[in-house]
């Protein structure tokens, strides 16, 4: 086995791991005073790791030479695409953290802790491993590394009750889901005699045995939990509401990308021969997520909770691309993921900018009444994000729905697509409520705090991406997504 080749392939992960360990040392010896430095270095490491992905993404790396460590990992274009999105989201989560933790928003625990960036880095390493897994063992390894850091991140405000509750809930339910996945894997191993994706796939050829079917369903259920698809979504609103907002933003983006990517990989690379067995499950999860995500959001007053339901709703659309079960659907799904990340980062950054003069955050509808008069820039940006999430052209959110539904209809699932798109109108109701509250109501005029440069930069970038100008990105985005999706089907 050529270890040098394998190590070259996982160079970004090695960089991140090394950086994480080194920063841990700095944090241990210098304490929280070094938090800012650690944050900057962590962001730099993530950026460097992301930069390493560029040549592969650009040229496309596929074929047998992408297998590392004897087939435990495969660093193909698909993995690179997902990693790029994960690293970018993580950088955003690092950028908005200091302003949050160093202000009254953090409650009694004011001050950014040096563990935060380190945990984010290790979460990214876990997600990197997860999306490039080609063996159930490496999948589980990555998943758990990501999950364990995520539990800690959710509860990072130790003395804040909501944060602690979020962490505990996430942990209990996450552990349950991990157990379910593990049980599914063991069933698959028992019936096929292998843990590698290709081995399990070969073992599943022909008539699907009942036990193996159970294995498949357990694995899918566990993954559905990780991406918070209905009916495994119950934890999402509580965790999103309770976790500190920068952490929520992180949860809504990076792990979602990783979860969706690994779900896609598993269904295509492992269960690709049994489309009939999982397609209905995914279709149901997709429709149910769209409908429940939309209905659940309608009564919400808390904006973070509302965005949690919105993310459930969006996962539904992403799963729609998966339900199509072909390369066009997978490509559409990746385009959607990219746009979804931009919209989520943008919306959460905008929420993080709703602060009073002390820096404490506002998070209910009542606080953003008439925001367009008092804080026009934030209000207009939020207007763009909300219309974009609702899928109204000419914003880029429309394009994400466009590709998904195009793939759905082209694959012949016309009725399914029609039902899903009709259900998406329910979602529009609460997105335009945002606009109504900010633009039509009398000002509450409580949002007085100033926000730092990092927020404005992120807000401007994401707003620019989802503005009509973003459509100019679509040719290259589609090209990348096509290459990445092709990699999924190359192994077949």
């Amino acid at each position: 086995m050529d270890f040098a080749h394998s190590f070259a392939l996982i160079a970004p992960e090695l960089l991140l791991t090394g950086a994480g360990l080194a920063l841990l040392m700095i944090a241990a010896f210098r304490g929280d005073a070094s938090a800012r430095l650690v944050s900057v270095l962590a962001a730099a490491a993530l950026f460097g790791a992301g930069f390493m992905l560029v040549p592969g993404l650009h040229l496309g790396t596929d074929g047998p030479e992408v297998l590392a460590f004897g087939g435990l990992l495969q660093i193909d274009t698909f993995a690179l695409f997902a990693k790029a999105l994960i690293f970018l989201s993580a950088i955003a989560a690092l950028m908005v953290a200091p302003a949050f933790f160093n202000s009254a928003a953090a409650g009694t625990e004011r001050g950014l802790r040096a563990e935060y960036p380190i945990l984010v880095i290790f979460a990214c390493v876990g997600m990197s491993i997860m999306v490039s897994a080609s063996d159930f063992m490496s999948l589980y390894l990555g998943l758990e590394l990501n999950s364990l850091t995520a539990y800690v991140l959710a509860a990072i405000l130790r003395r804040d009750l909501r944060s602690g509750e979020a962490g505990l809930k996430y942990f209990v339910l996450g552990a349950l889901a991990s157990g379910i996945i593990l049980y599914g894997m063991s069933l698959l191993y028992g019936f096929t005699g292998s843990t590698t994706f290709s081995g399990v796939r070969a073992g599943l050829e022909g008539e699907l045995e009942l036990g193996a079917l159970f294995g498949l369903i357990f694995v899918m259920a566990g993954l559905a939990f990780k991406i918070s698809a209905v009916p495994f979504h119950m934890w999402t609103p509580d965790v999103y509401e309770g976790a500190p907002t920068p952490v929520t933003m992180f949860f809504a983006t990076a792990p979602k990308v990783a979860g969706v990517a690994i779900t896609a990989r598993v269904v295509f690379e492992v269960f690709g021969g049994q489309v009939a067995a999982w397609q209905q499950i995914v279709m149901f999860a997709a429709l149910a997520s769209i409908v429940f995500g939309a209905l659940g959001a309608i009564g919400q007053e808390n904006l973070k909770r509302l965005l949690a339901y919105s993310s459930i709703n969006n996962v539904g659309f992403i799963l729609l691309g998966l339900a199509v079960a072909n390369q066009a659907g997978a490509s559409a799904m990746l385009v959607y993921l990219f746009i979804y990340v931009a919209m989520s980062v943008g919306s959460f950054v905008a929420l993080l900018m709703l602060r009073d003069s002390d820096g404490a955050l506002f998070e209910t509808f009542a606080d953003i009444r008439g925001l367009s008069l008092t804080q026009p820039a934030i209000a207009w940006a939020l207007l763009l994000f909300m219309f974009s999430l609702a899928g109204i052209p000419p914003l880029l959110g429309f394009y994400s729905k466009f590709v998904i539904f195009q793939a759905t209809v082209e694959a012949g699932l016309v009725a399914f697509g029609a039902i899903a798109i009709a259900a998406s109108v329910i979602g529009a109701f609460y997105y335009i409520k945002f606009v109504k509250v900010m633009f039509f109501d009398e000002p509450a005029d409580v949002v007085r705090g100033r926000s730092g440069m990092a927020h404005w930069v992120l807000l401007a970038i994401t707003a620019l991406i989802i503005s009509p100008l973003g459509y100019l990105l679509t040719p290259s985005l589609t090209d990348l997504a096509d290459k990445a999706a092709a990699a999924l089907f190359m192994a077949v």
Partner: protein
């Protein structure tokens, strides 16, 4: 004009001005908006004068592969030309109408209107079906804001209703578009207009498009968003809504439903006729009892648009031409009527009919313009309304006597509710002192009314100017759909030709009576 991308330019000017307005103080924003809309109108005049009647079907075409999945393709035929002209003509008037009425957040208001103009031009000029959808649907955003921010008391309900109604209608159309593009292998509208979809599929596709356009037109019973939206929107918002946005539905029928699904259109003609007949009679009766001026005009819009749909589905040239002229005429006339309401609303801040009376005494010029537009709305010969309604009804008469009969009652009822409105507002006693003290029209209001009245009379006296550009396109459309035309229930029997013309006078007889 070779090579100059004039359509893109017409969209670019308001687009950039909208951005400027967004960051401008009130006074500057008004000026910028007025100048931008006038420049766009001037470009529109250049467009019209360079449009070659009898030339290529699609002119001023532009194409750029900017996006993945669809292309930036523009181009117009005569039908699109006239609707674009209508939009750019009404825009400066809308800006003038909001000059004093809008005092809060002027920059944002003007930006929303200019953005709206971009989208309207884009919708009519788009030659890619998805590009059309983008422009068509994007209009929701500025209109939602216009109604919601600058509307009346119940604006929030109206804005939600407007948004959700229209959205539900259009998403199903999007699914149908995907299917069509997958089937035909192109998203080019001219190519799709020639593509023969299987008859079975046409039924479903037609229904999906109908869901969207019927809401936009709006057809009974999907019209309920319109009175709410109209009443709550500011004056200029109502003008744009009635003047142009309703035309998107009619344009959709003429551009998509009819040429792309001729068989299904014939199959569902009865549905359109039935809904239109109900709309003509029912909404006219409803208009008769309204106490709110804007609501009355809104209901009359539904009735007029029903004449449009009747004409469109008559499957003959007269019907199609009539429908187009009614659309243009209604765009001008109902727009002008909303302006008339706006003029007195600005003075008295009420739309309640009973609060006015005898305005012809203290506002004679206003009463004159109001009378002209009232007559045009009724369809008096010499005004644009007559030409359109006559052609539409002549067209439908060839297809169905019954539908023609019922639709014609709309004219009578129209006369009833419009004259009744006019009598209560302009004639009679000056029973309210504050209404009697109102001043006559200002220069700005003259500048809004005079151009519209000129065009209304022009279209009424010499409609050929407006019919000529679209004659070839209507003929092409008629050739495409006439094969599928539904059977006619009016069978005029061709008798033997008369010996003399009907107005023949015996010369010899008149000689005998002789010169007295």
């Amino acid at each position: 004009m070779e090579g100059l991308p004039i359509l893109s330019l017409m969209m670019l000017v308001p687009m950039l001005s909208a951005l400027v307005c967004l960051f401008s103080p009130a006074g500057l924003a008004r000026m910028v908006a007025l100048v931008a809309t006038l420049v766009t109108f001037a470009l529109g005049l250049i467009l019209w004068s360079n449009y070659e009647i009898g030339g290529a079907q699609w002119q001023f075409t532009e194409r750029a592969e900017l996006f993945a999945g669809f292309s930036y393709a523009l181009g117009i035929d005569g039908i699109a030309l006239l609707l674009i002209m209508l939009s750019v003509f009404l825009m400066p008037i809308c800006i003038l109408a909001s000059w004093e009425a809008i005092t809060k957040r002027v920059g944002e208001y003007m930006a929303a209107f200019l953005f709206m103009e971009v989208l309207m031009i884009g919708t009519f000029a788009a030659q890619d079906i998805f590009l059309f959808y983008v422009f068509f649907e994007a209009g929701l955003i500025p209109m939602y804001l216009i109604i919601g921010v600058w509307g009346g008391d119940n604006r929030i309900y109206a804005s939600y209703k407007f948004f959700l109604y229209t959205l539900i209608g259009s998403v199903l159309m999007l699914i149908a578009m995907f299917w069509m593009v997958a089937e035909a292998g192109t998203s080019d509208i001219p190519a799709l207009m020639q593509y023969d979809f299987p008859a079975q599929a046409q039924t479903w596709l037609w229904l999906a498009f109908f869901a969207s356009f019927a809401v936009k037109v709006p057809m009974w019973p999907l019209h309920t968003w319109l009175p709410d939206a109209h009443v709550q929107a500011p004056t200029a918002g109502s003008v744009i809504l009635a003047g142009v946005l309703l035309k998107l539905g009619g344009y959709g029928f003429i551009r998509f439903s009819l040429p792309m699904f001729p068989e299904a259109s014939a199959q569902f003609a009865w549905l359109v006729f039935a809904l239109s007949m109900v709309a003509v009679v029912y909404t006219s009766l409803v208009a008769l009892v309204q106490a709110d001026m804007k609501k009355l005009i809104a209901y009359s819009s539904v009735a007029h648009m029903a004449i449009v749909t009747v004409g469109l589905f008559a499957f003959n040239v007269q019907g199609l031409e009539g429908a187009m002229i009614v659309m243009l005429s209604h765009g001008l006339v109902s727009g002008a009527l909303f302006l008339c309401v706006g003029v007195i609303y600005d003075r008295l801040h009420t739309r309640e009919i009973a609060r006015y009376g005898g305005l012809a005494i203290n506002m004679p010029y206003y009463a004159l313009f109001f009378l002209l537009f009232t007559m045009a709305s009724i369809g008096l010969p010499g005004t644009s309304g007559f030409v359109g309604e006559f052609l539409s009804l002549a067209g439908i008469y060839q297809t169905s006597t019954l539908v023609a009969l019922v639709s014609t009652t709309g004219i009578i009822l129209g006369a009833a509710y419009m004259l009744y409105l006019y009598r209560r507002v302009a004639f009679g006693e000056q029973k309210n002192a504050d209404a009697a003290a109102m001043k006559d029209m200002t220069f700005r209001e003259w500048a809004m009314m005079v151009p519209i009245s000129a065009v209304v009379l022009w279209m009424g006296v010499y409609p050929e100017s407006f019919l000529a550009p679209m004659r070839a396109d209507i003929a092409a459309l008629d050739a495409r759909i006439s094969v599928a035309a539904p059977p006619s229930d009016s069978n005029p029997l061709m008798g033997p030709p008369r010996e003399h013309a009907a107005n023949h006078i015996e010369h010899s007889a008149s000689h005998k009576e002789g010169a007295h």
